[in-house]
């Protein structure tokens, strides 16, 4: 058998994560990079590295031709797409197969089947996976809508069949509202889309986003590895993820796991994947979509379930059977996605150079960083710097540990989302696990970052720091004092 050599068609922390899995498995590694990334940590961590092209992703990390050429040049036998970029591109998965490369992911057909969201919804319904109940055709009358609502339960959502972008939608809470709401949505729909047809869907109020990790090998074994709670989102982007979900009982976990495995099996899935559900407050859950790749938030599952998903994904790609069958969860894990964004200015991107980086240590702390001190955060890609993952015996202990870790954390040079996480760990709702997918947006709209005067300790530090700086130069007779304040003891030391 040819010695495996794995190319990661990605950058940042996920490339490093997969390279670490390779080293743990004794597999050689190949990095690819754009001109913005020659000095990036993922290049320095690989056994081989190949330039793809200029910084724009279309000319580098999205260039199938350049990636296949890099694989050929370096004799790679496996290609891992990471997440984002080409990870859910069925054509790429197929192209890898055509040139004899093993794509570390599901079959191209499974990517395709889940790629079309409406087709996937129908397929899931056929496979018995719960989907959000809705009328299958436009409503002919108010009575028809009332019949549907009677079955599905109120509230319902009237939607323009041709609609999109939030237009032509109306919530209906009782039968008496149906007739007038239907008229209004139909006329809005005619005005906006030149098509007055309207249908109804059950409205899931304040749902949670709960997803189930699945993994399957090439021999037909397919298992669920618990759920993740991903409701802490800003504008539909996950910000904080947890395992397990505070809203999921063992019984519900069992039912969601069954549904997730059925969903994956329906498209002939193997490798790592995630089935996303909306979880209603009444405990009902509905298929949302399936992510046919390794998720950003996979580490919380790894910590709680004691598995190495990244390594397992490579092993099953090599044709090995799943290395586990019976797993039990232990403790609670929380992941924070640390972005180079300024939470006090509407999360505007904050590219730049990481001038100082101090990472917390000790029990229950894991880092998957894509940058290090001195790294330049380029404009060109997703501004995630890396992830902090904490793990403890239960959720309250994990939240305390997260608060402690955030106190130890220091990033200078770019604005980051660390202040958001610091506010979260103080928030009563967050501490209670009481939130839904719109919760964070509501919090942010309410002014989540009050302006407080600096604490006396901060004023003291600033005063002494300024004084120390003022003292450094002027007085020669104070050389000893000045040396005390020398900022750069390490400048003289060998790096």
């Amino acid at each position: 058998m040819v010695k495996p050599r794995l190319l990661v068609a990605n950058r940042g922390e996920i490339a490093l994560r997969i390279f670490r899995a390779c080293r743990d498995l004794g597999i050689e590694t190949v990095a690819v990079y754009s001109d913005a990334d020659r000095k990036a940590p993922h290049v320095a961590a690989a056994d081989r590295a190949v330039r793809l092209g200029p910084a724009p992703a279309a000319q580098s990390y999205l260039s199938v031709a350049a990636i296949l050429a890099a694989a050929e040049k370096t004799g790679a036998t496996l290609v891992h797409p990471g997440y984002g970029f080409l990870s859910e591109n069925a054509a790429f998965a197929r192209a890898c197969g055509e040139v004899g490369l093993t794509f570390v992911g599901p079959p191209a057909s499974a990517i395709e089947a889940m790629g079309s969201k409406t087709a996937a919804r129908q397929r899931m319904a056929a496979a018995g996976v719960p989907v959000v109940p809705g009328m299958s055709a436009a409503a002919a009358s108010a009575a028809e809508v009332e019949r549907f609502a009677g079955e599905a339960g109120y509230p319902i959502l009237l939607k323009a069949s041709a609609g999109g972008g939030g237009k032509g939608m109306r919530q209906v809470d009782s039968p008496g509202e149906i007739a007038s709401a239907l008229d209004r949505v139909a006329s809005e729909a005619r005005a906006s889309f030149a098509d007055g047809s309207v249908y109804a869907e059950k409205l899931i109020e304040k749902p949670r986003h709960v997803e189930v990790q699945v993994i399957g090998d090439s021999r037909g074994h397919l298992v669920a590895v618990g759920e993740r709670e991903c409701s802490i989102q800003r504008r539909h982007q996950k910000v904080v993820e947890e395992c397990p979900s505070p809203a999921v009982s063992a019984e519900l976990r069992g039912r969601m796991s069954e549904a997730a495995v059925a969903a994956a099996a329906a498209v002939g899935y193997s490798s790592c994947g995630t089935v996303e559900f909306l979880l209603a407050s009444d405990g009902a859950f509905y298929f949302l979509e399936m992510n046919t790749r390794l998720q950003v938030e996979h580490p919380v599952t790894e910590e709680v379930w004691g598995v190495d998903l990244a390594a397992e994904m490579i092993r099953v790609a090599l044709g090995e059977p799943l290395s586990f069958s019976d797993l039990t969860p232990r403790g609670h894990a929380i992941e924070c996605r640390i972005y180079a964004e300024d939470p006090r200015r509407g999360f505007a991107p904050s590219p730049g150079t990481i001038s100082a980086l101090r990472l917390p240590q000790g029990p229950g702390i894991r880092h998957d960083m894509g940058v290090e001190q001195g790294s330049v955060v380029p404009f060109d890609y997703d501004p995630m710097l890396g992830k902090l993952i904490v793990h403890a015996a239960d959720r309250p202990a994990a939240v305390s540990r997260l608060a402690r870790a955030l106190e130890e954390y220091e990033i200078w040079g770019v604005e980051t989302t660390l202040p958001l996480f610091r506010r979260l760990v103080e928030d009563e709702d967050f501490r209670a696990g009481a939130f839904d997918v719109q919760w964070l947006d509501r919090r942010l709209a309410g002014g989540f970052f009050p302006d407080r005067p600096p604490a006396p300790e901060d004023v003291f530090l600033a005063a002494v720091g300024l004084a120390a700086e003022g003292m450094d130069a002027p007085s020669a007779s104070r050389e000893e004092k000045a040396s005390l304040w020398r900022r750069t003891a390490r400048r003289d030391s060998v790096r």
Binding site: P453, P454, A455, A463, V464, G465, R486
Partner: protein, 173 residues
């Protein structure tokens, strides 16, 4: 001025003077009349550790700026509206600030946010000349002497390199 420095605090929560004086055993900080002795050391990674007489220990990183400084402590970075009126902002330097005038240059790369003067203007000492954004901070650059703007090279929106000339002042005879 040796061994003693006066700082002006101008926050939303009030304005006051803070005086820091060095003694043989550390520093004495007089914050609006309240005096505290502190043992202060610079840690190997650049942070400061302050130890108060009652045993309280405060550790953090200070990035001096004008009119605000940044303080990182317990994971949070806060702006402290404290500056040394005597002390040129960390991001600019004076050349030849003598009887004949001064030249202001950028001490690190940044961006000119706003220019408040034009060539030929006459300015008082302390007048705002321009605002320079560097290291995440807006730094007010003020005149240290009264004079006439003899040369202005900074313009709003301009990115400036380290050492770039910004403005020259000429003392009026």
């Amino acid at each position: 001025m040796h061994g003693r420095i006066r700082l002006h605090y101008r926050g939303a929560d009030g304005a006051r003077e803070i005086v820091v004086a060095w003694t043989s055993s550390g520093a004495v900080v007089d914050d609006g009349g309240v005096r505290s002795e502190v043992d202060a050391v610079r840690l190997p990674d650049g942070r400061l550790s302050l130890l108060f007489a009652d045993g309280r220990q405060v550790c953090g990183r200070v990035v001096a700026g004008r009119p605000e400084s940044l303080v990182g402590r317990r994971g949070a970075i806060v702006r402290v509206p404290l500056a040394d009126p005597r002390h040129r902002a960390a991001h600019t330097e004076m050349e030849a600030s003598d009887a004949s005038g001064e030249e202001v240059r950028a001490l690190m790369p940044g961006r000119v946010v706003e220019v408040q003067v034009s060539e030929g203007d006459t300015v008082a000492a302390g007048a705002l000349l321009l605002i320079l954004e560097a290291m995440k901070m807006q730094n007010e650059i003020r005149a240290s002497v009264a004079g006439r703007v003899s040369r202005l090279t900074a313009s709003a929106g301009q990115a400036v390199e380290k050492g770039a000339h910004l403005v020259s002042l000429e003392v009026q005879p």
